[in-house]
């Protein structure tokens, strides 16, 4: 029994998928023509997909963003032309919930940094469910500074529930680690492209997402607080999480309207994990296009544009944001 809405919904589909695969196999082994039967089943399969996933609510997107099979940072990084991982914060330890290092993307040298959750329980324990500790943010700052010095564009993948809320993280000044990360990204003299590929959980996500160009997958979420946390605090009622998800405006469409996100990567029907190969290819294409465009700017132009971009965000005049508020 999964507590993920989308996984629950997929259970019946798995059975249908197996029957189609069996028929295909049987049809290949026998002279009998079963193509009509296969086509019929596939049509039904597609119809159910459309019905289940054709239009997702914000709450359903929250679950899609957390889907255990959703492509993670390493699924993207492994499709770079080359990757040489660098480890450690040079102070205390290496944090496996952040993966980073030198890479080649379409023959261009870059620094890539991503938040990494696990695919199974064992890996999740090792990677702390993708919740970085201060050491992870310090590794991130170190790599971003290095990239700035070597004039390598920075590419980040954002996928975290949030920064780790533990005793050790507080003892090692989580606030300072994130604050310095923000500072480093705000002042890096190289192009920065960030892709929100799963959950973008609050300040712990933003620490890797101050960027000249921010991409977001269609069903990813990016939020000031988790819907559950928001419901617990503002409604004092965790069961209001679904309503909180709708109110928080955490979807790619909402955030594109607000100017928090610059470009949306469309996902296949049913989510990125249904055709990860294709989603990763198109995301890397988009990253590559942005890096190429930004690379033609001087460091001064880059920094000025980045400053203006964030300077404008959340302009205070009520009327300037009314259209976004009326959506939903």
């Amino acid at each position: 029994m999964s507590n993920n809405l989308i996984v629950e919904r997929e259970k019946g589909l798995v059975e249908l998928e197996r029957r189609i695969a069996e028929l295909r196999e049987a049809s290949a082994a026998q002279p009998l023509d079963m193509s009509a039967e296969i086509a019929g089943l596939e049509e039904r399969y597609q119809a159910i997909l459309r019905e289940l996933f054709g239009s997702l609510s914000p709450w359903e997107k929250v679950h899609m963003a957390r889907h255990p099979a959703r492509p993670t940072s390493l699924d993207y990084i492994s499709r770079f032309d080359r990757f040489d991982e660098l480890h450690g914060d040079r102070h205390y330890r290496d944090d496996p919930s952040i993966v980073g290092g030198f890479a080649f993307l379409r023959s261009r040298a870059v620094m890539v940094i991503g938040q990494q959750r696990g695919r199974d329980t064992r890996e999740n324990l090792r990677r702390n469910f993708g919740m970085p500790a201060p050491e992870g943010y310090r590794k991130t700052s170190r790599l971003a500074r290095l990239a700035s010095r070597l004039q390598l564009p920075v590419v980040t993948f954002v996928d975290t529930k949030g920064a780790d809320p533990g005793i050790s993280s507080e003892e090692h000044a989580q606030s300072e680690a994130i604050a310095v990360c923000l500072q480093t990204f705000a002042t890096a003299r190289v192009p920065i492209v960030a892709a929100i590929i799963g959950e973008g959980g609050s300040g712990g996500a933003l620490a890797l997402a101050i960027a000249d160009h921010v991409l977001m997958l269609e069903h990813s979420t990016y939020s000031v607080a988790s819907p559950e946390g928001c419901a617990a605090i503002l409604w004092s009622d965790a069961s209001k999480a679904e309503e909180a998800a709708a109110r928080l405006k955490l979807t790619a469409d909402d955030l594109r309207r607000f100017g928090v996100v610059d470009e949306i990567i469309v996902e296949p029907l049913g989510g990125a994990h249904r055709n990860a190969q294709d989603v990763v290819t198109r995301t890397l294409d988009a990253v590559d296009r942005s890096v190429a465009r930004l690379s033609s700017l001087s460091p001064e132009e880059l920094l000025d544009e980045r400053y203006e971009k964030y300077r404008r965000l959340g302009e205070w005049q009520a009327q300037s944001l009314q259209p976004a508020g009326t959506a939903q």
């Binding site: 000044a173 606030s175 604050a179 923000l182 300040g203 101050i210 000031v224 928080l248 009314q322 976004a324």
Partner: protein, 281 residues
């Protein structure tokens, strides 16, 4: 746009607490006469418990002469048309009435000792000191103007983090203020922060921990994650001193812990190192 304002008069006008002639110390139980409490800068005269201070009381306790407020015309609105148990607009209105403030930060220029400074003071009594768009906008304007004037900037932080009722636009204020602080500091200007009770979340994880010198008030609660969130995560009770100013000092996260009654003197001393003119100690 700028508002001249006399600290001494405003301090008397602070609406909150005026009704209560006697205030009970939540720590030692001592019943304190309000005027005595104000005279001791809202520090319990018996046990040194630091009460949370309102922004204008704080300014009055720190500046010499006038305080020229900026960006007070920048007022909050409701970009998401938010509503939970109450509507966001109702909350803004009642917080404004109760605190006498229009947002969670008051920004302006003043003199401390003989040093002109930019001063931003957050107030926990307005939306728990949370950072909304206008909080971020006022702080950003303060740093931009301080950079133009080439004066040090002092921020008194007090915050529950980013304001949820404004969604991602609130979170983005971490990025916006960070960018302004970075430009200010890159020009060689001095940034000092005073962490007061409580400073957490998005404010702790942005400008508050980007300062050159980090001072904290005695016993202030300072951290990234809230105490309850950590306790729920680890399923055990945290020790009392966890996330206090003294705890952070021991862990190396801040420069010093100061009793509020000695704070102004300390700030002047620190400014003497950072500002060459017109020092003659």
């Amino acid at each position: 746009m700028m508002r001249e304002w006399l600290p001494s008069r405003r301090a008397r006008e602070t609406p909150r607490n005026d009704a209560a002639l006697w205030v009970k110390c939540p720590k030692c139980g001592e019943v304190l006469y309000r005027r005595d409490l104000a005279a001791s800068l809202f520090v319990c005269t018996r046990c040194s418990y630091h009460f949370r201070m309102s922004a204008y009381d704080r300014i009055a306790s720190i500046v010499d002469g006038d305080f020229t407020e900026i960006a007070s015309e920048v007022l909050p609105s409701d970009p998401l048309q938010w509503s939970d148990k109450k509507s966001y607009q109702t909350k803004l209105k009642s917080d404004a009435e109760n605190s006498g403030l229009s947002e969670s930060v008051v920004c302006g220029f003043a003199t401390i000792g003989r040093f002109p400074v930019a001063l931003g003071v957050m107030d926990f009594h307005f939306r728990g000191g949370t950072m909304g768009r206008v909080t971020g906008e006022r702080i950003t304007r303060l740093f931009e103007e301080a950079r133009r004037r080439k004066v040090p900037c002092i921020i008194f932080a007090a915050s529950g983090g980013a304001r949820m009722e404004e969604g991602m636009l609130a979170l983005m204020q971490m990025a916006k203020t960070t960018a302004a602080v970075a430009r200010f500091m890159e020009d060689g200007n001095f940034f000092l922060v005073v962490l007061t009770d409580p400073t957490t979340g998005g404010v702790a994880a942005s400008f508050a921990f980007q300062a050159d010198v980090i001072v904290a008030e005695s016993k202030a609660m300072i951290g990234f994650a809230g105490r309850r969130v950590i306790e729920q995560t680890i399923r055990q009770r945290l020790p009392d001193q966890f996330q206090t100013a003294e705890f952070l000092l021991e862990k190396g996260a801040i420069d010093m812990v100061v009793d509020r009654r000695e704070l102004k003197e300390k700030l002047v001393r620190l400014l003497e190192y950072a500002v060459r003119e017109p020092v003659s100690p």
